[in-house]
Symmetry: C2
Amino acid sequence: MTQGAVTQDAATAGQEVSQPARVELQFQPGGLRVRVPPGVTLFDAASWNGIAIDSTCGGHGTCKKCKIRVLDGSMPVSPPDARAFSPEELRAGWRLACRALADADVQVEVPPLVTRPKAATVGVGRQVILRPAAQKRYLELAEPSLADQQTDIERVLAALDDLDLRVDLAVLRYLGRRLRAADFKVTAVIVDDVLVDVQAGDTTGRLLGIAFDLGTTTVVATLLDLATGTPLAVASMLNKQQPFGADVITRISATMLDPRTLDTLSALARQTLGELAAQVCAQAGADPADVTEIAVAGNATMTHIALGIDPEPLGVAPFIMAARQLPELLADELDVPAHPRARAFVFPAFGAYVGGDITAGLLASGMNRDARIRLFIDIGTNCEIVLGNRDWLLATAAPAGPAFEGAAIRCGMRAADGAIEGIAIGPGDLKLTVIGDCEPAGLCGSGLVDAVAGLAGAGLLDRSGRLVPDEVAAGLQPALARRLTMLGQERVFVLHWLGEPGDAAASIYLSQRDIRELQFAKAAIATGWRVLLDEAELAESDIQQVLLAGSFGTYLSPASAIALGLVPKLPVLRVVSAGNVAGEGAKMALLSVRERAAALALLGEVKYVELSDRDGFNDAFVDQLQFPA
Amino acid sequence: MTQGAVTQDAATAGQEVSQPARVELQFQPGGLRVRVPPGVTLFDAASWNGIAIDSTCGGHGTCKKCKIRVLDGSMPVSPPDARAFSPEELRAGWRLACRALADADVQVEVPPLVTRPKAATVGVGRQVILRPAAQKRYLELAEPSLADQQTDIERVLAALDDLDLRVDLAVLRYLGRRLRAADFKVTAVIVDDVLVDVQAGDTTGRLLGIAFDLGTTTVVATLLDLATGTPLAVASMLNKQQPFGADVITRISATMLDPRTLDTLSALARQTLGELAAQVCAQAGADPADVTEIAVAGNATMTHIALGIDPEPLGVAPFIMAARQLPELLADELDVPAHPRARAFVFPAFGAYVGGDITAGLLASGMNRDARIRLFIDIGTNCEIVLGNRDWLLATAAPAGPAFEGAAIRCGMRAADGAIEGIAIGPGDLKLTVIGDCEPAGLCGSGLVDAVAGLAGAGLLDRSGRLVPDEVAAGLQPALARRLTMLGQERVFVLHWLGEPGDAAASIYLSQRDIRELQFAKAAIATGWRVLLDEAELAESDIQQVLLAGSFGTYLSPASAIALGLVPKLPVLRVVSAGNVAGEGAKMALLSVRERAAALALLGEVKYVELSDRDGFNDAFVDQLQFPA
């Protein structure tokens, strides 16, 4: 299924078209044509395609700088247009791009740039134009009189008439006193469409947000200045739920054994978020009350538990979430110290095992914007795989098991100081890369992949995953052969002698069983992306880029991943580490409502493919147990 | 300003028309033509005008019984139409009346009635078709499977697809467990557009609401069965804020003297509501958890304080409210024992002194629906006056002072046991009507009005409000003359001798100063409605009905009110007591979202006239101090 094929389907299939309709926009000068979903503003469509349009208000319709002129096609006049332009200008086709919705094909002229919109680079090289859901407006209001008995809130809202706001009861409680104490000079604090505060004087300089990557293992918080997009502080810590199990299944099981455990786990997740928020504010010398919004990217289990939602149906077939998209939430409901009416945006999940962290990751890596066909793989105990481009996306989850976490590996450990994270097996000997540059203490996931790929490359491992007999090894790699030995009943390959060389019991080694664990993980993952390729009727060679996401993906050697068949067989430069894309996606959601809307739109655009329900899954899995030739 | 005049204005004034546009609907058979605001459904327009259309679902688009056929004009096809009718039927003009919006002139045919919509009589003879904001739907859902991994909430919402619902986080928390424990047979509880609960099994038989009349003096609660419109229990008690002052001004002053008093007064109001709610549920043997909505009608001060909103700006010129319309509220925010996510509808206020109790009163008395020009007067310390009909409404507030509450009257008392509530002064002697049929203890407001009217009628009081000299009295009314005497420095008229006849000190009397108090009150009220008549360019005789609202209005003798000039000089049958219209309005808001919407629409329809800011107000007031000839 290529983009061309989709277009053809759409043209011929009539009623059954599953792709959303598009409208074509052409920008002059330059003549760039782009196709976008109806309802997108011309301002966004331009900026997404690298055409800068003037703006200083972030597209709120107030700065009136984002002028464009309609050359061909028609575009309705919006209320801010009527204020910004004279009747002659309107007739000549002038409109504000931030309020002009692309509803039909249109050709527009973009005047040369005078100012440049504020933007920040986030995610995988994504340029994000700042338009946070949180905003502040300084207002100088007329005082009421017998001739002007407008209510206090109507007076404030009249000064914000480009917005259609709801008001929090808490604001009404103190509004009268505060307006009068501040001589009616106040700052309105708005998040989305809610007026959350009216502050005395001008406080527009302080507008903060916190982006959280709520991982099963590690939680990361980034404090952002929402007015500039600048990160002010970062902190991370282990998820306090850790003692209840290393992965999501053990944590769900804990809640099933004792119903009170849900409250405990929920409180622990919220404590983790709360302590991190306090830490980043303290680091930056910021007042938590200036944090008006937070964003949280986490997998479905972490998100459910943090919000106190019963996770049991996630853990047993048929793996059902309570909800994909969550209701409006306050930071307070997650025990995060912030403005008392700060909002919380929690990333929606596609499925029980393709969670909000993946939604955030897709956003950060631009999977929803890029024309290239790309494969996104987040490797872990549960491995999430997404294939597609801006026109279509397929997702699945593969149960990779604990191999990459180090837990099921004899000498396995987390990617911490002392972990062998890289192994190069040459003709003479092997070289280890150790985290923290110290004495090796164990093997982490990326080291495991390197070791197995290296052994296979050196001929010490056959395609079926068996370590070759001693005599074969001695013939092929005489310098390495002595590392291949028996430990008890099991064949092992020693990576590092801790004691006397030859004493395998005092060494860091890779066992035959470790290799089997990795084989199972590799088979699950490779079956996953192969199923998606089949579904899309594409071949491996059609994939233009592979993105390895998550902390594990950052360390994994692309060459080893290709060698093992963990990722498709592609030129090594096409396989790239994307880093902590979930956290980056959370930042983007804080910085731009447009990006956030794009993340929510993904829910309707991504097609989820359930592997466990699929005919031929087991056969495909068995085939993938083999390493590539 | 009559209705005809308004129509003419609209036709000639072009842009300056303040009346909303109307569309004309004609119903066949019968040919009744009605003019309604655009956007009203044909179902409502018909029922408002006495034409019954079949319906059993309360207009939710689900029963598909409210069929009508378009004979002339066009009517778009709504999504429920497409499900209810075949393409041929749609082409023949069949539509569901509950979803058909009156956007242009149209002629429709209404089939003969098969069933009758549920309705209740509330307010001043208002027939209200039941369509509460609170509703329950019993659902039998398919269980999820690997082939159907819809989330739990999407499964529930898919069965409610005629509604566009938001979901409360609290519901998501237990949804998974509850659905599975109940074998996916559940009852969805909805208030407005929020899914507030999913209950195991079929609980559709239990749907309750509580209507509150939150008065400055007395608070009344009525428990309603929302499925039938039946009142199940009523209870009332004094507002627990009473010790802080008899009227709103003293209570506002209390909060200004000590900021902590607002919290105290707010808690007292909420305690009053909470205790009454518990009482009515106990009386009816109902579970408070089945109360899914409450409605509160109160004046602006009571409403502000109950919600913890600073009332200070209400109490000092220029008399500013925090808000007219209030945000979405929970019953829990008013400490009312009910379903934990029960909603609270609080009536909006027009102005600081024309509050939500008046909005509710106008609704209950049909001021927004009746073609007749009517005058609505709620007499109290603050007197609210509204003039108009369904096409236009003018409102004002007149500071009548404490005369009617008995506080400023020498022998005054509240309308309780022992209060003289009625006085008939005949040629020979006078007759008293005493509350509780016991020994008189004092004079309440309605007795005061009767007494003054009777004395004026007997010639013992001149037009300027002065008691006539003894010799004049002896000539005119020999039998009554001995009741006219001196007490200290002041002339008094004795109503009832408590001790020896002749001992005025041991009597219940009316003093010259009491009469002056009433004169001031009467002048304020009469100036109020005269200003509204001037504003509307109408004469007293144009008024077709006077409605006396509030508990005081219930007891007031229409004849005495006319005699004193408290109300316009009209045939006595045109002056009627409307009773507790605020409480009735609260009931209507619970029973029908349409009536509630009409109450909210009043905010935009009523024009508020500020008396204190008006040229010539003082001259008019002085003129009105005189009693009618």
